[in-house]
Symmetry: C3
Subunit: 274 residues, 3 copies
């Protein structure tokens, strides 16, 4: 856990520039959550400049919600690989349509990602399992639960070993693995599924932490999963206190990242090494 709080601190100190190619639905939230954590966001997606952009950045985030910019993701991803900078992949809706399946496969073939972060439906599809996901939201049948936890951990481990990436699956239980070490996180709240962008923001945060700690993307992805869950709980507490709804919750979630102290984090985080 000490390394998690160290990564939180390093992000504030280093202010890593995070280059994001991300979808238009949640791009503002992704930029603001990177800023909340202490990072500096750059949301360029034009194929004519993404390679040059990555030169100055500490990390790259490729969010497949920006499906029209897959070409930019390949260009920026290859450059990040060459420069040894971490690249984070969010396979938004990968099982949902032919275009997304093809694009997801192409990206994994052409770019090596340090971290792949998705919901259970997306990660299951990448792992070659059947999935019932019908869009960008996770299918209930795919979710990681206490019952299927051992099998789910096995599944993400296999995907991590196959891809050489840290794999993070988020939901009620979050799993993060590098194919060897695997951690489970049990923070968060149901309202996170009632806003758009919880997943995208977690991916952006993962990018910021990888930018601050590029030598340990497993710890960075764990820190992101833990911080997002803890901040979800803090935001939900404030939402209930103010009798607010999902739109306020989204604001409170980013606020919680902005104000998160190491004490809050250590007190609230619930995780185990599997």
């Amino acid at each position: 856990m000490r390394e998690f709080t160290e990564i939180l601190r390093q992000t504030k100190e280093k202010a890593p520039l995070v280059q994001c190619i991300t979808n238009f639905v949640t791009v503002n939230d992704c930029a603001n959550i990177i800023l909340a954590a202490g990072g500096s966001p750059a949301m360029t997606q034009d194929p004519r400049e993404v390679e040059e952009g990555i030169e100055n950045a500490c990390a790259l985030v490729c969010n497949m919600g920006a499906i029209g910019y897959a070409g930019s993701m390949v260009l920026a991803g290859k450059r990040a690989n060459r420069l040894g900078k971490p690249a984070v992949f969010d396979p938004v809706g990968v099982g949902g349509t032919t275009l997304r399946r093809d694009t997801g496969a192409r990206l994994l073939e052409e770019v090596h990602f340090s971290v792949i972060r998705g919901n259970a439906s997306e990660i299951r599809w990448l792992a070659g399992e059947g999935t019932r996901g019908s869009g960008v939201d996770v299918s209930l049948a795919d979710a990681v639960t206490e019952e299927n936890l051992p099998q789910a951990a096995q599944m993400v481990r296999r995907l991590a070993q196959k891809t050489g990436s840290v794999v993070a699956v988020s939901g009620e239980i979050d799993l993060v693995t590098d194919g060897n070490r695997t951690a489970a996180f049990r923070n968060g709240c149901p309202t996170m599924a009632r806003i758009t962008g919880s997943g995208c923001m977690l991916t952006a945060l993962t990018g910021a932490f990888c930018g601050a700690a590029p030598d340990d993307c497993f710890a960075a992805a764990c820190t992101a999963a833990a911080a997002m869950g803890v901040c979800g709980e803090l935001a939900e507490k404030r939402r209930l206190e103010t009798k607010a709804g999902n739109a306020s919750f989204r604001i409170y979630l980013i606020d919680a990242v902005f104000n998160l102290t190491e004490e809050q984090f250590q007190e609230a985080v619930r995780y185990e090494i599997l």
Copy 2:
């Protein structure tokens, strides 16, 4: 009124997937208001996947603010028509430029929309009346008022009969008609015109309710008009209490949809059948 509250409830129970092709200005708000009502938003607009996307969706929303994606709207709209799924059209700024006039005419020719929802300038233009609208905002001269209510009702009825669509015009007074039944709604507040996206969000909400009640899009459009007006009033109350401005109002509006109870709704709604 009972059917309105039933539609609110059905949306929460069924969680309809609503496929939106909508503009980049308000896309985040549209997704969050669909979630607030209990629906599930998908904001795909790529022509290579919108047809496949509609297979899993309960309803389609075409917002002409996404003017560059008119081709996607035609593809998705035709598919929705073939599958018998409701399609909702927001003719954003249709009278304003040649491009918008042509695109609006093309969309109405190629796709049958279950509901057309716009402001008074947009609806008047579609009805073939002169309009003084100069952009995306309604012209004062076009607004539906107590004085011109009978003529305005006649105008929307004619458009509904011509298109075979439910027609909804929003403003200080909202009118919804299927060409036969016509209802007038008198909820809402002026601050709704001081944020961007009130109209887009109402269209998105109409899509969610049509997805929950595809067999009665008139009732669904009425429910959306009523709920939006009631939530506008609740949001304005909270804005004044917290001495806040238009940006908070936008958050409070979505929050109000999230927290709306049947009691709040029934107590506040003001409508009549014309």
Copy 3:
């Protein structure tokens, strides 16, 4: 100062339509801040309609964050020039990549801008000075400080004289000049750099004020710099009172513009003529 409060008032009375070609990250905030000030935003960017759009508008805003729409900026800008309507330019990230350098140079060559508003790195690059900016955020080494204020004022004056534009550089100290008169503003707060869009929103606000006072874009740009700084302080006060973070701050900032009174403005504004 009286002319500043007059411009605030004129914007509310005239409700100028402001045509913005602006980036997808902060477009919603830009529209809402224009509405907060009393203006009416139109965010069209399609090259097929931007020229027609400008016919009805009072001012044009070209934000180079929308790098893919530089062609639309040229079309709309030339039309605005022909119609004698003010055009405001935000050279987002202009020093950062070859594409941005080329696009910035092209825009300045083809369009005459009434106001150029950027951060210190961007403005220094346009002025032909070396800059250490590496992206959309200002480099510390470029910032305007009490120490380098005379040289910085000289630099912006030269750029204003060369371009015939009002030049506004924002940061801890804001400078606005028409090449002759130069004013320095010392409002604002550090949290403004912890949200995305402070700069874009200031540019949008400048567009709204230029639309209300097209005959005095220097006063309009001064009013925008002053109002943004004052509202930043009001927002920060409210953020601390509510123990909130950067996401709330962004909402509070727009709220402060919405609720800004002439008394608040006059009491808080800190500026001098150099």
